[in-house]
């Protein structure tokens, strides 16, 4: 039995050998009651948290949490004792049931965070002892951090840091039995968090990023808020996105080599399948994947004219935007049609690099593929047939035919509008070409591609973005969903050529971008005589609007840097950072941990050194006098803090009658040196005083 017990004992407490070396820990100080004002502050903090989570959690759950919070606040305010256990149990079960009812189970971020809110509220309600309140504070930290799963914007992190400071302030108050004024508490917690920030930033950048997941945590909700370009192009649908001002992605060009505005065609997906004026993407087949090894000579894998890195917002789209025409990429799978496909959707914003050049290079095309790109379901009517014949007649090459059709679009009174009328259900193509003659980019791209196919020229519709707004003098470009665009690509002279019929119908759309166009439309100036002036104002703003633009640009810039360096920081950015620091290919875990611990320890030591309490500097005179005071220690005589030197000397004189004169002399001299203005040569006086004290020896009768 005894042999069994001993090893078990050892296992039970692995710290035992370590703890044996430490001196015994004193009994923990008695706990105290949290101050009421602290609790009211905590209550306020929880109230704000619950209110802020109304937007994330289900309204029912948030209201329930809010009700619990109100109840607790009343309890704290009126100094009632917490509700009985039975009520707490009922509330807990009710809240669990509610989470399951609302979200249909446990899995999911929203269910998780709702549960967390309820947990904080319920724990707060039942809290009585100091430890309970500690736990509430810790849960608050956790709640603040988990709000990042829904919003990683720079505003949110500022909010969360403020929240952290406040929560730390509460912890400060809770752990201090004496009441401290709120101002000094907040000052203290702010200084703590401020000191923590450099360390946190260091850890953040050098902590090795791991790939992987913990199965036991709630899975993320399938992209509930993210937008994406649709996989099909239905006439009139793209136009509705013109007012969707949401950010799609940001681009930063390497070395500042930026293409011209009219070259900014962000290719996302191609749509080769047509059906009644509607286009669809074809399902990506493995044989269409382009791998580096097999097609290296085709692809000429050197860097393109423009190198850029893209910071993409959260999206459910499986295709990634790249500039026309893709040369190199570092994310996703390249397809034959130059689009890039990802098999795994990103849960959050993500970033990648690419390079492109203005000219497409030859792409191998099998006859069957060519045939597929000539399939049509829309049939040109007789009028259209006539037109087609005139275009075909006498054309020396496909390129000439393309030009003729392009010219036709230019010459006809086609109108570019966001609100085109609905087309005839049975024959939308011919209806558009001859009757309506007004539409958004997708109408023109569709129509143009159908004409091309009717003329036996392989072609397809491409959907992506065009343009984007330049921020901070072109430091980076913001592309929004309103910049969504459709154009066509034709196979001419053995290569793909981009043809954008919209460019001839509304050159402003391409040259100025959607933002400017919308603004022009808004002011109703388009087409009028004032267009030129309006454009001038728009492009070169003056006065208040210029100032406003500057502010908005710097905010956009800050938010971009935030997203680039914090929100999308990953393995690759870490490697980039190390490269910048001159450590190429060294982002191994050992190096990172090395840097991290070295930096962390250095910083902590710096704090130790900087914050360690420094002894108050006493002047030599005071130190000398203290020596005199210490001479009586042997006789168990101490100078009381409240005693003046004179009072002390009087006490000493009565206790050491033989030394009375010496004591008096020393005290007088001390007073003289310390308080008299006319102490002549102080240096020699102090020296004399020192020797006087050195010689002094208290004598007892």
């Amino acid at each position: 039995m005894a042999t069994l017990k001993n090893p078990l004992k050892f296992i039970k407490n692995p710290l035992a050998p370590l703890l044996n070396k430490l001196p015994p820990m004193p009994s923990q100080p008695p706990t105290h009651q949290a101050h009421r004002s602290t609790l009211l502050q905590l209550s306020l903090l929880i109230g704000i948290a619950v209110v802020l989570h109304f937007s994330i959690a289900n309204a029912l759950i948030a209201s329930f949490a809010f009700a619990i919070f109100i109840l607790k606040t009343i309890i704290v305010f009126k100094n009632y004792s917490p509700p009985p256990k039975l009520i707490l149990m009922i509330l807990t079960i009710a809240s669990l049931g509610m989470v399951i009812y609302v979200y249909g189970g446990w899995n999911g971020q929203r269910a998780g965070i709702s549960f967390l809110i309820l947990l904080v509220a319920l724990k707060f309600l039942e809290s009585e002892s100091l430890r309970d309140y500690y736990i509430v504070c810790l849960l608050l930290y956790f709640l603040a951090a988990s709000s990042f799963l829904f919003d990683s914007s720079i505003v949110n992190i500022l909010l969360v840091v403020a929240y952290t400071i406040a929560t730390t302030g509460i912890l400060l108050q809770i752990s201090n039995p004496t009441k401290v004024p709120l101002k000094s508490t907040l000052g203290m917690s702010t200084s703590m968090v401020a000191k923590a920030l450099p360390l946190a930033i260091l850890l953040f950048f050098f902590f090795p990023r791991i790939q992987g997941s913990f199965g036991f945590l709630p899975s993320s909700d399938a992209g509930s808020t993210a937008t994406s370009l649709s996989d099909s192009l239905v006439a009139g649908e793209l136009a509705s996105s013109a007012f969707n001002n949401e950010l799609a992605f940001r681009v930063e060009f390497v070395d500042g080599v930026t293409p011209k505005q009219e070259q900014l065609y962000w290719r996302v997906k191609t749509m080769p399948l047509e059906e009644r004026f509607q286009w669809r993407v074809s399902k990506p087949e493995p044989q269409n994947f382009v791998s580096k090894s097999t097609n290296s000579e085709d692809l000429k894998l050197d860097k393109g004219e423009w190198e850029y890195s893209i910071l993409h917002e959260q999206s459910t789209d499986r295709y990634l935007p790249y500039l026309d025409y893709l040369q190199t990429k570092d994310r996703g799978i390249r397809l034959r049609d130059f689009s890039v496909y990802v098999t795994r959707r990103a849960l959050d914003t993500f970033s990648y690099n690419g390079s492109s050049s203005a000219n497409s290079f030859a792409e191998f095309s099998k006859p069957s593929e060519r045939q597929a790109l000539l399939q049509l379901s829309s049939r040109p009517n007789a009028k259209m047939q006539l037109l087609l014949n005139t275009w075909r007649e006498g054309a020396s090459s496909d390129a000439e035919i393309v030009n003729r059709v392009y010219e036709y679009f230019k010459s006809q009174p086609f109108e570019y509008t966001l609100t085109p009328r609905a087309l005839d259900d049975l024959d939308p193509f011919n209806d558009f070409m001859f009757e309506s003659q007004s539409g958004y980019c997708e109408h023109y791209a569709s129509a143009f591609t159908i004409i091309m196919r009717s003329l036996n020229i392989p072609s397809r519709v491409v959907v992506g973005y065009q343009g984007g707004s330049r921020v901070n003098d072109g430091q980076f470009i913001e592309v929004r969903y309103s910049d969504a665009h459709a154009w066509s690509e034709v196979w001419v002279d053995g290569q793909w050529r981009r043809v954008d019929p919209t460019a001839t119908i509304s050159p402003e759309r391409i040259n100025l971008g959607m933002e400017a166009l919308l603004e022009l439309w808004d002011s109703g100036l388009i087409g009028s005589n004032d267009t030129g002036l309006a454009l001038e104002n728009l492009l070169n703003p003056t006065g208040a609007s210029k100032w406003f633009k500057q502010i908005s640009d710097s905010w956009k810039s800050a938010s971009y840097q935030w997203n680039k360096w914090i929100v999308n920081y990953d393995f690759n950015s870490q490697r980039q950072l190390l490269k910048k620091l001159g450590m190429d290919h060294h982002n191994s875990v050992t190096t990172l941990v090395g840097i991290m611990s070295l930096g962390g320890i250095t910083l902590l030591l710096f704090y130790f050194w900087q914050l360690v309490p420094k002894t108050i500097e006493r002047d030599p005179l005071q130190r000398t006098y203290l020596k005199f005071v210490h001479k009586f220690k042997r006789h168990k005589i101490y100078k009381k803090p409240s005693e003046t030197p004179l009072e002390f000397s009087q006490r000493l004189a009565s206790l050491f009658p033989p030394s009375e004169d010496d004591i008096e002399q020393i005290t007088n001299q001390y007073y003289q040196l310390r308080y008299s203005i006319e102490s002549g040569d102080s240096q020699s006086d102090i020296k004399q005083f020192k020797s006087l004290i050195a010689r002094f020896k208290p004598k007892k009768s």
């Binding site: 430490l22 001196p23 015994p24 820990m25 004193p26 009994s27 923990q28 100080p29 008695p30 971020q109 430890r131 500690y134 810790l138 930290y141 956790f142 951090a145 988990s146 799963l149 990683s152 952290t164 912890l171 400060l172 809770i174 752990s175 201090n176 039995p177 004496t178 401290v180 703590m192 968090v193 000191k195 923590a196 920030l197 360390l199 946190a200 930033i201 850890l203 953040f204 902590f207 791991i210 997941s213 913990f214 945590l217 959050d348 914090i566 929100v567 999308n568 920081y569 902590l604 704090y607 130790f608 914050l611 360690v612 309490p613 002894t615 108050i616 220690k633 168990k636 101490y638 803090p641």
Partner: protein, 310 residues
């Protein structure tokens, strides 16, 4: 008197229970950050990790370089708390918050401003007469956010408190050296039985009725009459006169009571013990000598009693 400066080497620091909870929360947060590959959550995690580490620095610095000093303690009777004055001094330019002074079961919270000295009386219970050594003193702190607990090596003050026996009134006060068992008269009656002893200049504290008013009229000076209580002038407090049924501690307690009584009455008294006799006298020195003899009965051999007197 031992000077005790809390240097870095005398300091120990470990996370508290709340500190472990904090670590648990951080671990959960780490899991979330990795699972959702959420960099902002990583940032928050590292901020919280750093706050914890900074808290450690603060906790350490809240206690380091404080100085502790002990002072002689006053003798007390058994049952009273022994008081050991400890001076905490903060020689630094930083205030110290929420520092606990812990000795045995005694806890005292204190707070020191920059450069402040503070004397705190450790209150320790007395359970036995004789010398009571001061318990080792620990200084500890949970400041600032209670996730780390910092404590110091034991400071053992080289002080002891002499605990006198508990005064107990079991047997009536001996009227004088020879007569026992006689009813003790109340203090007032005793005063009435005083004999005239002379006149002296008025002193603060003299009774109004003792002032000799006719002298005031004559000399314009206040004069009071002095009395001497001859019948109770001296009393022999003897170990041997106590009933045989009393145990040792009860005898000591009774003698202690009598010594206090006699001193209060202003009588001259003698303490008779089996091993020594403290001759007739009165006054504080005599009083404490008697009480020490009682406190140390059976412990210290006669003649080796320390000369210290508080």
């Amino acid at each position: 008197m031992t000077d005790f400066t809390i240097s870095r080497k005398k300091l120990y620091i470990l996370p508290t229970r709340v500190g472990w909870y904090y670590a648990l929360i951080l671990f959960a947060l780490f899991g979330i950050a990795v699972k959702f590959d959420n960099q902002s959550a990583f940032m928050m995690l590292f901020i919280l990790v750093s706050v914890g580490l900074i808290a450690m620095v603060y906790t350490h610095n809240n206690v380091v370089d404080l100085q502790m000093d002990s002072h002689p303690s006053k003798s007390v009777f058994l049952g009273q708390s022994a008081l050991f004055p400890i001076t905490l001094s903060n020689q630094s330019a930083k205030p110290r918050h929420a520092v606990w002074l812990i000795a045995g079961g005694f806890h005292q919270l204190t707070q020191l401003d920059a450069g402040q000295n503070q004397t705190i009386e450790l209150k320790l219970p007395t359970v036995q007469r004789g010398y009571l050594s001061c318990e080792p003193v620990n200084l500890s702190s949970l400041y600032p956010i209670g996730v780390f607990f910092c404590w110091t090596k034991r400071f053992v003050p080289n002080e002891r408190c002499l605990v006198y026996p508990q005064p107990l009134d079991l047997v009536a006060f001996p009227e004088d050296g020879t007569q026992q068992g006689k009813e003790q008269q109340s203090a007032n009656v005793l005063q009435g039985a005083e004999d005239y002893a002379g006149m002296k200049a008025y002193q603060d504290g003299d009774r109004m009725r003792d002032i000799h008013w006719p002298s005031l009229a004559k000399t314009n000076k206040l004069v009071s009459i002095q009395y001497e209580n001859n019948s109770n002038a001296s009393v022999n407090l003897s170990w041997f006169t106590l009933p045989a049924s009393l145990g040792v501690e009860d005898r000591l307690s009774q003698l202690c009571y009598w010594v206090i009584e006699a001193e209060q009455n202003g009588q001259s008294y003698q303490l008779e013990m089996p091993n020594q006799t403290i001759e007739f006298d009165k006054g504080l020195v005599h009083y404490h000598e008697c009480l020490r003899a009682l406190a140390l009965w059976g412990e210290t051999p006669v003649g080796e009693t320390p000369s210290k007197e508080s």
